[in-house]
């Protein structure tokens, strides 16, 4: 154990936490609005990675422009997934919606494996680094944090300042009441699913600029998103962002005191403990 590793590990973890938070935001938004746990979250994150990768390697598009493109594709894809797989079963039991989104998971993974294979890919971007003593902050990580913060801020602006955003929140609170107020709830649900998907793809796109990935990489981040979302309270966007930072920070700091491989054990134990002791999450569900 060496405390010298503490500072760089904490910084690394915290920075990643922003991107984790963004992915979790997508998951929690969908749950908050329509009580659906989106099991296609992982493959969608992976699609975000591949969107940037293809634009970059085949068309030479700047990866950060690729991030924007991934977000737009995500919005449309999410709306499409909503109408194909979710709309018909929106009022059915959890099992039904879980399986419906899981079937989308299988289809994405199936088709994408044929196209991309499960070979690892990476995008090489060198933005330099800030170095001070043992601390190295890579440019790519810095930009990822900045983008994550911007996107989260934009989402808040949208949800709280615009009419459409307010309608989505109204549908989340009480669909029947929102419909009485003349809100087309179906459109809002589809839009919310689209935004959740766009967030997942954006986080995937950012992760692609940091680490190598395969089409199966999304699974890891999906599980991490579950942990974060539960920690912050299912359906609570602020909780997801804070939860992301907490998990990122914990991951960084714990590695200093434990063998790195034990960290997931701690993470999942916290996850189950939070569900049992404070199912509403540390910040309470649905702020």
């Amino acid at each position: 154990m060496s405390l010298e590793a503490l500072l760089p590990s904490a910084i690394d973890g915290l920075m990643l936490g922003f991107v984790y938070g963004l992915a979790a935001l997508g998951l929690t938004l969908i749950f908050g609005v329509m009580k659906v746990i989106n099991l296609s979250h992982g493959p969608i994150i992976a699609l975000g990675m591949f969107a940037v990768f293809i634009l970059f390697s085949s068309f030479g598009v700047n990866p950060y422009l690729g991030v924007v493109a991934a977000a737009l594709v995500g919005l449309l894809l999410g709306i499409a997934i909503y109408f194909v797989a979710v709309d018909r079963v929106i009022d059915a039991t959890e099992l039904t919606t879980l399986l419906a989104t899981f079937s989308v998971n299988l289809m994405i993974i199936g088709v994408a494996t044929v196209i991309f294979t499960t070979s690892p890919r990476s995008i090489d971007i060198d933005l330099g680094a800030l170095r001070a003593g043992n601390v190295t902050i890579l440019g790519t990580h810095g930009v990822a944090v900045a983008v994550a913060v911007l996107v989260a801020a934009a989402l808040y602006g949208f949800l709280f300042r615009t009419r459409t955003g307010k309608s989505i929140r109204a549908v989340a609170n009480n669909r029947a009441a929102a419909e009485l107020m003349g809100i087309d709830s179906r459109r809002m649900l589809a839009l919310a699913f689209g935004i959740g998907t766009a967030l997942a793809m954006t986080s995937g796109a950012l992760l692609a600029t940091l680490f190598s990935f395969t089409i199966l990489s999304g699974g890891t981040y999906e599980l991490k998103s579950f942990v974060i979302v539960v920690l912050g309270g299912l359906g609570n966007p602020t909780g997801a962002l804070v939860g992301g930072l907490v998990i990122g920070f914990l991951e960084g700091v714990l590695t200093v005191f434990l063998p790195v491989a034990w960290v997931p054990v701690v993470e999942y134990v916290i996850f189950v403990a939070v569900l049992l002791l404070r199912p509403a999450g540390l910040l309470g569900a649905r702020a």
Binding site: A5, P8, D12, S119, G252, T255
Partner: protein
């Protein structure tokens, strides 16, 4: 980035030097079938599973390519000619095992009982090889393993499993020897390896060996298969400031690990990683590695890798055993395999005859390659160890 800032010392094919005088050791070329006998041509169906999907898909494909290359080469020279005049034309039959042990077992059962294949080669990766070995032993069949290097598998008292790869325990022990020869002042080592059968068996041997050489193991950590973020390990390594880093696992993780070590400007003088660096695409990670043309490319006109040559070598071993046995009778082939002592392009091949470790590879040794910047400024792999096979002296970071 002036000069060679970082550098990866790596494992690769044994005896590439031998490939310079290639062909002479290929068994097919030296056989003389008795011309007077009537020739009967038979198909020789060789069954195995390949991981076309899942975690092992990249390296498994190399192995399949290697096996296919051997089949093509044998077909080109008219098949394997036995003394009794029979000519065997090898054909492959394989399924996708999804990199999963239960699929491997179901498919090997199918290969043996439904497809009635004549011979079995192994899947790729130690974990899958173990699973396949259980089935071939259950059915009393022979199998030559190409992609399984872990030691424990071969210490179970198998009867019909033969290992072509060098056992994992040998992989990094040589790296430690090389390192100490290059720089006897090295004291502190960090060992960071993938937590899978293969890498763990490598480290289980390398760790005590390092200690026996008076080295101080300052970090000993394992990472899960599929890890892409090595920063937690790197932060720990940096805090412990070791002189050398050894470890790694397979392709994907090794490449990423090397890249991130470079990004964080880790100050180690010596880095040895398993498996990943000999892959040609390793250089795609940029200055963290350094470039390639090896004679192997010219000779086989395909991208070389440890796994494809392993697949090819497994084919050659089978061919040699068939020729020595002079028939396809399993008992005779088994006797021939027991006696085999071959020098292939790939290195020496000889199996243990001890009841407990029967079939374990005992002769094969590893070579270490390093990516070095040539006079033309491009990166190339050079064999740096053992010294009698070296194509260039190893360079240490100044």
């Amino acid at each position: 980035m002036r000069g060679i800032r970082f550098f990866g010392l790596t494992l690769a094919l044994v005896g590439l030097v031998a490939s310079a005088c290639g062909g002479t050791t290929t068994p097919g070329a030296t056989t003389s079938a008795a011309p007077s006998q009537t020739t009967v041509t038979k198909d020789l169906i060789i069954g195995f599973t390949a991981s076309q999907t899942g975690a092992q898909n990249v390296t498994s494909k190399r192995q399949t390519d290697g096996i296919q290359l051997w089949v093509d080469d044998v077909t080109k020279v008219g098949g394997i000619k036995l003394k009794d005049g029979t000519v065997l034309m090898p054909k492959v039959k394989f399924y996708d095992d999804e990199s999963k042990t239960d699929r491997v077992q179901a498919l090997y059962t199918k290969l043996i009982n439904d497809d009635k294949v004549d011979f079995l080669l192994s899947p790729y990766s130690s974990g899958l090889v173990k699973a396949a070995a259980v089935v071939t032993e259950q059915n009393g069949r022979l199998m030559i393993t190409a992609g399984g290097a872990d030691d424990v598998t071969m210490e179970q008292g198998f009867k019909g499993v033969y290992q072509v790869y060098a056992p994992g325990s040998k992989y990094l022990v040589g790296a430690i020897d090389l390192m100490l020869k290059l720089d006897p002042t090295i004291k502190k080592v960090a060992i960071v390896n993938e937590k899978d059968s293969f890498s763990a068996s490598v480290v289980a041997a390398a760790n005590p060996y390092a200690k026996s050489k008076g080295l101080d193991v300052v970090v000993a950590e394992g990472y899960d298969t599929g890890t892409t973020d090595f920063n937690p390990f790197i932060n720990k390594i940096q805090a412990a400031s070791p002189d050398a880093i050894i470890g790694g696992g397979h392709f994907e993780d090794g490449t990423t690990f090397a890249k991130q070590l470079f990004e964080k400007r880790v100050n180690a003088r010596f880095v040895a990683l398993l498996v990943a660096p000999p892959e040609p695409t390793f250089k795609d990670i940029g200055d963290a590695a350094q470039f390639i043309t090896d004679r192997y490319v010219a000779k086989y006109n395909s991208q070389p890798s440890y796994q494809s040559s392993g697949g090819y070598a497994a084919g050659l071993v089978l061919q040699k055993a068939l020729e020595d046995a002079g028939s396809t009778d399993p008992a005779k082939i088994q006797a021939a395999l027991d006696k085999i002592d071959l020098m292939l392009f790939y290195g020496r091949v000889k199996f243990s005859l001890d009841a407990k470790t029967h079939g374990k590879q005992v002769a094969h040794d590893m070579v270490y390659v390093q990516w070095q910047k040539g006079s033309d400024g491009k990166l190339a792999t050079q064999i740096v160890w053992p010294s009698d096979a070296a194509t260039a002296p190893a360079q240490l970071r100044k």
